[in-house]
């Protein structure tokens, strides 16, 4: 997993729970990297799972809760670093992930293993169905980022996210049905 995700996670944890807790987290969690992450490096995704689990244990927040919140924090950082010209709606952005954004990611980082996020049904700006499929159990992170995207582009509008995880690949594979709550 890309180092920028680890650094963003630690920044998020520091902001939410304080520098002392993050220091304790890094000292007490056995990590191959020793807790040293650079934005341009690659690290085993098991380390993020270990960090989320340890943070959950230390704070009492569930891993799902932490990952959704982390996703909501990660999205603004990523979108400010890589502005998407011409995108006016969150659905447009989500539709670009598979064809455009991940292709650009691979241009910069040929070794990057990006999740497969494919839209397969859209009704204007009211409804969108997407499938998340990844080698990592990060459906919660994805959900948090979807929430952040909806907020970023459609502030003030109310959307409901109905998530259905795969029975056999829980957290690895999930369908997201994003639907406008007011039915406009």
């Amino acid at each position: 997993m890309k180092g920028v995700v680890f650094r963003q996670f630690l920044d998020f944890a520091e902001r939410e729970f304080g520098e002392a807790l993050v220091d304790d987290l890094l000292n007490s969690t056995p990590l191959d990297s020793g807790g040293v992450y650079t934005s341009v490096g690659y690290y085993d995704h098991a380390e993020i799972i270990a960090l989320v689990t340890a943070l959950s244990n230390k704070t009492g927040h569930s891993a799902r809760e932490l990952l959704i919140k982390f996703g909501q924090n990660l999205f603004p950082t990523l979108i400010s670093g890589h502005p998407q010209d011409g995108v006016a709606h969150a659905f447009d952005l989500i539709e670009r992930i598979h064809g455009v954004i991940h292709r650009d990611v691979r241009k910069l980082y040929p070794d990057a293993e990006v999740p497969d996020i494919r839209p397969h049904q859209r009704k204007g700006t009211d409804e969108l169905r997407i499938t998340y499929d990844s080698a990592r159990p990060m459906a919660d992170l994805c959900e948090g980022m979807i929430m952040a995207a909806l907020k970023h582009y459609n502030d003030g509008e109310d959307f409901e996210i109905r998530r259905t995880d795969s029975k056999h690949r829980y957290l690895y594979n999930a369908d997201f049905h994003i639907i406008r709550r007011d039915g406009r």
Binding site: E19, D23, V36, V40
Partner: protein, 556 residues
């Protein structure tokens, strides 16, 4: 624990982690930078190779084009564009490949070509395209499937190859026909020659009988015999002139040798060497193109038949500014020279082989009609050399050594040289007044008949059946002779050759060519010609015409 110390320790650990992260990032960046440099170098090398390949494709003699998945041309080289009548490849980019084929060809693509292409990813065959101007383009076409769904088309215009093959076929047929006609002609001449001699005897005998016996009935019968002889003689003349008149015209020897060389090329084994070296100069000469082609064809054919499986034949045609010696690769043990080449520049044709070679005896007879060492494979066809040199100035020299090979060198003055030569001042006249007359004819009866008639007219006539003997006598005492009469077709030496050699010795000697075969071209320098059979009247008339009816007349 002191809270400040705790904070300091925590910050220190954070700083250490950040420093370690920075060092790791720098190390990673250095590694990536090095990898990027290597990749860019590799890319540069590959780009250079691609550029070279692209240039090669652009200048290729074969047409190359690429279509995308939809069948639209995305690349075309100039050859392909030109093949289809477009000035620039860009004119074709964006066009569908289907615009270059007629409907029936497109149906063939659908029903036959594409199924095979889709099955194998490759197809090759012949198709006919349509050029921009509507003309047909006969192509040898290769289609290769590309990974992106496009097609790589490689094509060659086989219209030129077909036309070239047709020309070669035509030339081959022409040479075969000429060979057949030549064989027939030689047979006709041979029969005519012998029959002419018989007629001469009948005619002369009838004349003698008429002189001796003077009864009316006898005169009538003799007249009938002589009339019949004249008619028979006309027939013989027709027979002997069978299709032998050479058709001389300005020809490019370079083109003829190249064509004949190409024609022979597929007769050689893969292990045999066959080299054709032709000067880039255009060598123009007035000659009979069929006869010249036959001669070259025969020389190459003979050379090919003489070499082993690993032997070599080299044919060269070069410009000769002045006379130059030839140096064979071996020390010749046999040599023969025929004809002369005194005018330059000339074209020099050399046919070399490292085959069985020829002995002096074989070489001496190889160029004489009916006398060549047929069966050995070397004499057949060499008479065409003589036939050519009888019709135009030129020289043939052959060098050989049995077991080593044969080199035949033919020098033919070019048109510019001959034109220059004819501008030379005429020779001063110095006609001999001697009483001697030399009669040469391989037919003994005819030789004796003419000799007797000349003696009757007052000449000291001496006769020979062998022209070589006659020449040797003439060489010893040329001034003893004031007249020469010679037959034309003789086995040891042709009358034409004898005339040339005698005129070289004594340029002013009057020579009468007396033959049943007086077809052009005649040797230069003759005083007169006289058709066989000879009678007292025709001989007297001919001699009188040149002021040589008697030795006294010559002195006057």
């Amino acid at each position: 624990m002191n809270p400040d110390a705790d904070i300091i320790a925590r910050l220190k650990r954070k700083l250490e982690r950040e420093m370690a992260a920075r060092a790791a990032a720098e190390s990673l960046l250095e590694r990536r930078s090095a990898e990027l440099y290597e990749a860019s170098e590799q890319l540069r090398v590959e780009a250079r190779q691609v550029k070279h390949l692209s240039t090669a494709i652009d200048v290729s003699a074969d047409g190359v084009a690429i279509t995308d998945q939809a069948g639209v041309y995305t690349y075309m080289n100039p050859t392909h564009a030109s093949m289809f009548g477009y000035a620039h490849p860009q004119d074709c980019i964006g066009l569908s490949w289907t615009t270059m084929y007629a409907q029936d060809t497109l149906r063939r693509f659908e029903s036959d070509i594409f199924p095979q292409f889709q099955r194998n990813g490759y197809w090759r065959g012949e198709v006919t395209g349509i050029a921009n101007d509507g003309s047909k383009v006969h192509q040898d076409l290769s289609l290769t499937a590309l990974s992106d769904g496009g097609i790589l088309c490689s094509t060659r215009d086989i219209g030129i190859i077909r036309r070239r093959e047709a020309q070669r076929e035509q030339l081959h047929e022409m040479l075969l026909d000429a060979e057949r006609r030549d064989a027939l002609g030689r047979m006709a001449k041979s029969v005519g020659h012998d029959f002419s001699n018989i007629l001469t005897i009948i005619n002369a005998s009838a004349k003698l009988l008429a002189d001796e016996m003077h009864t009316d009935l006898f005169d009538i019968l003799v007249d009938r015999i002589m009339q019949s002889c004249r008619q028979a003689n006309d027939l013989v003349l027709d027979l002997m002139n069978f299709d032998t008149a050479p058709e001389r015209k300005m020809c490019s020897l370079s083109d003829l040798v190249r064509d004949v060389g190409d024609l022979n090329s597929n007769q050689f084994l893969a292990t045999q060497g066959n080299e054709i070296l032709i000067t880039s100069e255009k060598l123009i000469c007035e000659t009979d193109p069929t006869l010249f082609s036959r001669m070259v064809f025969n020389l190459i054919k003979n050379a090919r038949e003489a070499i082993e499986e690993d032997g070599e034949v080299c044919v060269s045609l070069e410009l000769l500014e002045d006379d130059q010696a030839v140096t064979p690769d071996f020390k010749p043990s046999a040599f023969i020279e025929r004809g002369q080449c005194n005018s330059f520049p000339a074209a020099r044709l050399i046919v070399r082989d490292n085959g069985t070679g020829m002995s002096q005896k074989a070489l001496d007879t190889a160029f004489i009609p009916f006398q060549s060492t047929k069966g050995s494979g070397r004499g057949i066809g060499l008479t065409t050399v003589d036939a050519l040199l009888q019709g135009q100035p030129g020289r043939m020299r052959a060098y050989s050594r049995p077991g080593e090979g044969l080199v035949i060198v033919i020098d033919l003055p070019l048109q510019t040289a001959i034109a220059h030569k004819t501008d030379d001042a005429p020779r001063a006249s110095n006609v001999s007044n001697a009483r001697g007359a030399l009669v040469v004819d391989d037919d003994e009866f005819h030789m004796e008949l003419v000799t007797e008639l000349l003696r009757k007219f007052g000449w000291d006539a001496v006769g020979f059946t062998n022209p070589l003997e006659a020449l040797s006598v003439f060489k010893v005492a040329p001034s003893a002779f004031g007249l020469v009469m010679t037959d034309r077709r003789m086995p040891q030496m042709s009358g034409d050759e004898l005339v040339q050699q005698m005129l070289q010795i004594e340029p002013d000697i009057p020579i009468i060519l007396n033959s049943g075969a007086l077809a052009s071209p005649l040797p230069v320098g003759l005083a007169a010609t006289l058709t066989k059979p000879v009678s007292e009247e025709t001989l007297w008339a001919t001699l009188d015409l040149i002021g040589r009816a008697t030795p006294q007349a010559a002195q006057d």
